[in-house]
Assembly symmetry: D3
Homo-oligomer: 100 residues x 6
């Protein structure tokens, strides 16, 4: 789907996507920490696709189940019970990733 | 101000505050990482008081200026330009903390 | 799904769920009023699962169709036209509940 | 300030303000319940001016301190810790109203 | 679905829908500009149904693909990367509209 | 304040600010339309600083008072009554700009 977005020659959109990729590169903060930041930001803003994406990235970066649940707990307490349906889908997505 | 909130005997409110404190205790994720999670969540939800609070906590937990700016960059890219005024106040708050 | 969340021994998450349950217990405000508060909060925050949950709870607490629509009208006016798709799904859910 | 808004002859804006007033009229739900709905909606959307407005309206409608705190607790649990600074200002506003 | 909402005789809800229709009528700003405003507001508030609706309205008002992508770019930069999944669905919806 | 942000050599933050500037350049949509899009996006996301900024930019781009109020009306209807306090401050800011 990103390819269809890039087919259209809009420089602001393209640069935004490049910047988004650059944001999570290891730097003063390591990749794992940055992906956890992306995950919790996605949880409190309640975007399921973003949550799934960052769960997969976090897992590749070595985040274990205890760490995931602590990150989830921050998202839940900051964002409130409105986050619960997204937390359910997040845990379901994580379970399926681990089952593969 | 919290004291005036606690003066009133509402158990849900009191327990929420206790839970909020418990959330950032060191566990599978260390204190520094958890405070960074709280900071970025506050940035994307655009709450100046919460941002200042977590900047102070992060600083006590040893977050340095490069790490702060990388956390800010995640908040900015996830949350968009609407975050910019809050980022300005965040940097101003951090500058004043460091000047003390 | 909640059971799979509770299987993981994260005390903050578990306590949050317990607190969430406690919040809607009858007290100074009765159950019906509290569930209506939960419904309108869910409407303006635009969470379909939360809206459906509170509609079912409100119905069990005796909220009738006129009362539902007045609660919907508060959510719609406070939250704006962005609430409309969620209102449609809310009315559809209520219709199906009443048809059972 | 509303007067300066109405000075400008924009019918959509004027009608919206009229509709906003109509929304809280007593109907199937009484005034007190509707104002509590407006208060909790304002809390979870984190608008201080709206919160203060509905606290004053609720108080005129006979909401007592225990009821206020139960409404606050719903807003806090649904909306999360990001609501805390607004809750502080809400309690401060309520204290000042009661001190008058 | 709107018909089932209107079946219920709630005047606030009905008036809100009438006001919503009136909002996008050509006036000092033309229809095309107003629909673009509705589209970008829907993007940053991340409501897929609203985005699709305004894309269809914009297309009827003569918005071309370059204009769509510039409107998308404003929504993306203001709203941040959290908008990306909605942008993907927006482009997919636009592609399907154009393929018809 | 932006200068103090740029003093710190964080490339993601700098590029985001550059991209933000680029977003509003005249292209398929003219400057005036793009600034109106930024204004309405800021209204529905309820950021006073962003609203004031885009009001000033719109005014420089030739937006007149009738056009401002029509843009305000879109923001108000999409975003709901929670936008009202921001609309008041927007009209106040516009009045002061025009009085200069």
């Amino acid at each position: 789907m990103n390819e269809r977005i890039f087919e259209h020659d809009n420089q602001v959109v393209r640069r935004f996507f490049a910047l988004d990729t650059q944001t999570y590169k290891s730097g003063a903060l390591d990749l794992k920490t940055k992906e956890l930041l992306g995950l919790v930001a996605s949880l409190v803003l309640r975007c399921d696709d973003c949550i799934s994406y960052h769960i997969a990235q976090c897992r590749d970066a070595g985040v274990d189940r205890n760490e995931f649940f602590e990150a989830f707990s921050v998202g839940l307490v900051v964002g409130g019970s409105i986050v619960i349906p997204h937390l359910r889908r997040a845990v379901d997505f994580l379970d399926r990733l681990e089952a593969e």
